[in-house]
């Protein structure tokens, strides 16, 4: 009795400590954003929404945010067809170089982002596209596509191979089979993957920094630039907006497909 009691005390101590440590930065930023003072402090000095007012009035931040949305949209639009088809092909067919492709899928964890970013910078520079915004979307898609492929693979590997045969048996030619049967069956993975790609591109800092010029920055780069001059609570407010939008995406994910599918992806 006492044994199980002390065990549960220990477990709960760990759980609470983990939650506090994990959420501390978020709580600090959240608190600081509501300050009424003029510098970032925690706990905040008084409560106000004035810094939120400031960021919505700040044209620089607003435009940077729109640019981030634009980049994220391009990245997602490229990743959906590429990642979906790649994942279906990887699960369905015995592909040559499957091993090499598996290794490529580990890239995001093995190759430093900075090296990939420099590679992209040289590549787009050579093509005369440096400084433009849309290549950032392409670059984000190239770098993060493994996440898309993982998400769709999780759905596709649960796909009963007889479903496609059944569709053919019902008289569906290959294209119709794909549109009416295969695609809807992997849809949870596609939705998960595209939301993930969207968030990753929205938050992408290093690659944007390397690829765009000073007049054309995305939101994370803009925030970074601002920090370098003066740290004001409006940056905390921007961060909160960021966190909230990520939260909305997660909630959307859970509502649309259920997080369990996402957590099961391999």
């Amino acid at each position: 009795m006492t044994g199980s009691r002390s065990k549960s005390i220990i477990i709960w101590t760990f759980v609470i400590a983990s939650i506090v440590i994990l959420s501390a930065p978020t709580i600090v930023v959240l608190g600081a954003s509501f300050t009424a003072g003029n510098i970032i402090t925690f706990p905040p000095e008084g409560l106000s929404l004035k810094w939120y007012g400031t960021i919505f009035g700040a044209a620089g931040l607003r435009q940077a945010f729109l640019r981030s949305l634009y980049v994220a949209t391009i990245c997602t639009a490229i990743s959906i067809p590429v990642g979906t088809l790649a994942a279906i092909a990887l699960t369905k067919y015995k592909i040559r170089f499957a091993n090499s492709i598996q290794i490529y899928l580990l890239l995001p964890f093995t190759i430093p982002l900075i090296s990939q970013g420099i590679g992209m910078m040289l590549f787009f520079g050579e093509m005369g596209l440096a400084g433009q915004l849309w290549p950032v979307g392409v670059a984000c898609s190239v770098i993060n596509i493994p996440f898309m492929i993982w998400a769709v693979t999780a759905s596709a590997s649960n796909l009963n191979p007889d479903l496609e045969l059944a569709a053919a048996n019902c008289g569906a030619p290959p294209l119709q089979t794909f549109l009416y049967v295969t695609l809807p069956a992997v849809m949870p993975g596609v939705i998960t993957g595209s939301l993930l790609m969207f968030i990753l591109a929205l938050n992408e800092f290093l690659v944007s920094m390397l690829l765009v010029d000073a007049r054309n920055v995305t939101l994370p780069v803009q925030i970074y630039n601002n920090i370098r001059s003066i740290i004001t609570p409006d940056l905390a407010a921007v961060s909160v907006v960021f966190i909230v939008s990520a939260g909305i995406v997660i909630a959307l994910l859970d509502r649309l497909v259920g997080l369990d599918i996402f957590l099961k992806s391999k």
């Binding site: 009963n160 007889d162 479903l163 045969l165 059944a166 569709a167 053919a168 048996n169 019902c170 008289g171 569906a172 030619p173 290959p174 119709q176 089979t177 009416y180 049967v181 809807p184 069956a185 849809m187």
Partner: protein, 377 residues
């Protein structure tokens, strides 16, 4: 005219034949899943391909459905060679082992799918879906999601989807294997009813010998990729072509021995010092004096000779010892060791255990049978 085009002509372009399989083989690497299979199936008949798992029965069915092309041979449907015809142009309905209903569609949408692919107009589709929901007794369930239906209801949706476009041929790939016994027996009769009602030619694949005997007009028994016998159920049971068929269908006992003489269709052989006789089994018996043989006899053809009965009723009477007594409800199965027949172990039924005492293991009894019931292979 080339040689191969001669080969591709059906042997007899008989308009009453729905499916004709000619020397079909399927090889994966160096494994032959189906070897030189040939048969004709008349229109409107219910054929069951029966065999253990790995016998090639499902491979053969899938070749007929068009999922892959045979390595050798040709398949004809309504007299037309179909090897080069892709599955989606074959007009064959199929019920899959795991049903393969489209999980993101309702029952009605599943059933409508084959019609939609055939570009029927909305009115026709709606009417036809209604009709087939009624046929499989699912009227009113059309709007249900697939996962909101029970196992038996899902079976019915799968049947309706396979039949709704009025195919020439219905294929059943062990769809009943996963059901519990009661539901399975109910669905077997349901398949039979629907098949009779629509008159659609049907090929059913199963490893369940009871199902094969109950539902079919014709049975094909397969083993190791080879067709062992094609016959009406009653003939497959009464006149098995070889020892495999004899063993696979029914409860069969084998007595092993050496042939001592062959006289027309009657074979004399010796097992463990006892001289026995049986009829030569199969259509082309190959038994010579001195050869090893196996004699098959059904459990129900062996009788326990009780006190009141005279052993004269039986041509063969042997002494046995009860090794095990198995109570199965409507009958008792005795495992009996017979020292006279080289310690052969025989299974015998007792359908009326209430009439006399049940024998206990160790009891000595007499067994009798007649030579005409013994098939020698």
């Amino acid at each position: 005219m080339t040689l191969s085009s001669v080969d591709r002509e059906p042997a007899d372009a008989d308009p009453t034949i729905a499916v004709s399989v000619r020397n079909v083989g399927m090889r994966y690497g160096d494994f032959d899943a189906v070897k030189d299979a040939s048969f004709d199936l008349p229109k409107g008949k219910f054929l069951t391909i029966l065999g253990p798992s790995g016998s090639g029965k499902t491979t053969l069915l899938r070749l007929i459905a068009g999922f892959g092309e045979p390595t050798t041979g040709e398949i004809f449907i309504n007299g037309e060679p179909v090897n080069a015809v892709p599955a989606h142009r074959r007009a064959i309905g199929m019920v899959f082992q795991r049903l393969a209903l489209f999980p993101h569609m309702t029952a009605a949408q599943n059933i409508a799918f084959p019609l939609k692919m055939r570009r029927r107009d909305a009115r026709t589709i709606a009417d036809q879906v209604e009709r087939y929901l009624d046929l499989v007794k699912l009227g009113g369930y059309g709007g249900r999601r697939i996962d909101a239906l029970s196992g038996g209801q899902q079976q019915r949706v799968a049947i309706a989807r396979a039949l709704v476009f009025e195919p020439d041929l219905l294929l059943l790939d062990e769809p009943l294997a996963a059901l519990d016994v009661k539901l399975r027996e109910e669905m077997q009769l349901e398949f039979r009813r629907i098949q009779k009602e629509l008159g659609v030619t049907t090929i059913n694949v199963t490893h369940d010998q009871r199902e094969a005997l109950v539902v079919s007009d014709e049975v094909i028994v397969m083993n190791d990729g080879v067709i062992q016998q094609k016959a009406q159920p009653i003939l497959a049971y009464r006149k098995p072509e070889n020892a495999f068929v004899a063993n696979f269908i029914g409860v069969t006992n084998f007595v092993h021995g050496i042939v001592t003489g062959v006289d027309g269709g009657v074979v004399a052989f010796r097992s463990g010092g006892k001289d026995l006789r049986g009829i030569a089994g199969g259509s082309a018996p190959q038994l010579a004096e001195g050869a090893q043989c196996s004699a098959a006899i059904r459990a129900e053809q062996i009788r326990i000779v009780t006190g009141g009965e005279t052993p004269d009723r039986f041509e063969i009477v042997v002494e046995g010892v009860i090794a095990d007594t198995i109570f199965e409800g409507e009958r008792i199965v005795y495992e009996i060791t017979v020292p006279q027949l080289a310690e052969a172990s025989l299974r015998v039924f007792d359908h009326d255990p209430a009439a006399h005492t049940q024998f206990q293991p160790g009891a000595r009894i007499q067994l009798g049978w007649n030579s005409k019931d013994m098939h020698v292979f």
